[in-house]
Symmetry: C2
Subunit: 234 residues, 2 copies
């Protein structure tokens, strides 16, 4: 709300692919966030845009709750495979269906909504879509196009949705590698927060050096607003 009042454009940039953006926004609203669907940038709408632009007809290997995002996209006679975090829907049958299409296509296009290795579900770590994307890449001798953090294509699409340039944008995140490292590789600046998955060792990470480290999102906004006048983050 403070960023909005100060006329600073922003997006909530997520890798969530198990629900529609609409459903995600409803959830965040229940947590007290005041936001609209247009404020969120998620892999599924980004892939949707890409499919439209490139006239691709997807065979979807995604979580059923995500299907509504693609309901107006032509899906007969598919010419690409789109992988989301399908979780229990990563069956041998579904994987074979994706594999068989890729093998049949003269120009196999595999699009994955991220390349995460695993995530926490309840009390246990479970395989993320990246593992299944790696399986298809190996079987088909192909490389997936990644539409999710930390891919530069994905960050670029998010920044394009605000009509901004990468070098004018700050990424705020709790993941030293994907959020901060990925943002910096994409020519953005990266601001690490000491919340969520942050670990003390991130402050002296061997490879990734955040442009700034702050206690939480509110402090990050303070930093951005205090530097607005000087037009400089660091």
């Amino acid at each position: 709300n403070r960023l909005r009042k100060n006329g600073i454009p922003f997006r909530f940039c997520t890798n969530e692919t198990q629900r529609t953006t609409e459903s995600l926004v409803q959830k965040l609203k229940r947590f007290g966030f005041d936001l609209e669907v247009g404020d969120v940038f998620a892999p599924a709408p980004a892939v949707r845009q890409m499919l439209i632009k490139q006239q691709l007809r997807p065979q979807l290997l995604v979580y059923p709750e995500l299907l509504p995002e693609f309901q107006d996209i032509e899906q007969t006679d598919p010419n690409c495979v789109v992988v989301g975090d399908a979780a229990h829907h990563f069956t041998y049958e579904a994987m074979n269906k994706a594999f068989q299409l890729l093998l049949r296509l003269q120009n196999p296009i595999l699009i994955s909504m991220g390349k995460g290795k695993y995530y926490k579900e309840g009390n246990e770590l479970v395989l993320d879509l990246g593992a299944y994307t790696a399986a298809l890449e190996y079987a088909c001798d192909t490389k997936a196009i990644i539409m999710g953090k930390p891919s530069k294509e994905y960050y670029s699409a998010a920044i394009e949705s605000m009509n901004l340039k990468l070098e004018d944008v700050v990424m705020i995140g709790d993941d030293i590698n994907s959020d901060i490292g990925g943002a910096q590789k994409s020519n953005m600046r990266g601001l690490l927060v000491r919340t969520g998955k942050f670990r003390a060792s991130d402050e002296n990470h061997a490879i990734v050096k955040p442009d700034a480290i702050v206690n939480n999102l509110a402090d990050a906004v303070d930093q951005i607003l205090s530097h607005k006048s000087t037009n400089c983050i660091k």
Copy 2:
């Protein structure tokens, strides 16, 4: 039978991991082959030997019909994961169970009975265990030990079971890459047959040059017997 009569040791070396060697031998006998379990070298018994030697307790991600091969191996408190061609049993749950153990182990050991990408099942191509092994390798940042063609470890174990040296052995096969290329990389000679998955283009393969090409297995045996006197294959 002709090799046997001439006192030439041999093994039928397979990557079959959906049934026990005993069951495979029964099948081959029905096809008219006269052979015993001891004549066959398959990934499961090779892995079994490895587990015993290295005192490993496996968590098995294999086809149920293969389980009898491991029935006398301790499997409580597992300290490694063994992957076979589990096919429909490559469920999200089973993959997570394997992944979670590997992540828990201080020294994660992943053993895979081959690294095949796909194979023909009825009329369609389906994913082979290699794709699922690649998924676990990616998620756990580890490299699998491959116990199946074309790995040198596997060929060496097969040759060891005959008390021979690799350089004294000829591999006869129809797969230019895995059989012939793999054998040559392991210091064996490779004899390609023009049957099975052989394709005309294999005769002038860009990378793999077989030591000889023959029409079928019977001709391969002719070659070996005719060269026996001169103690030289080529």
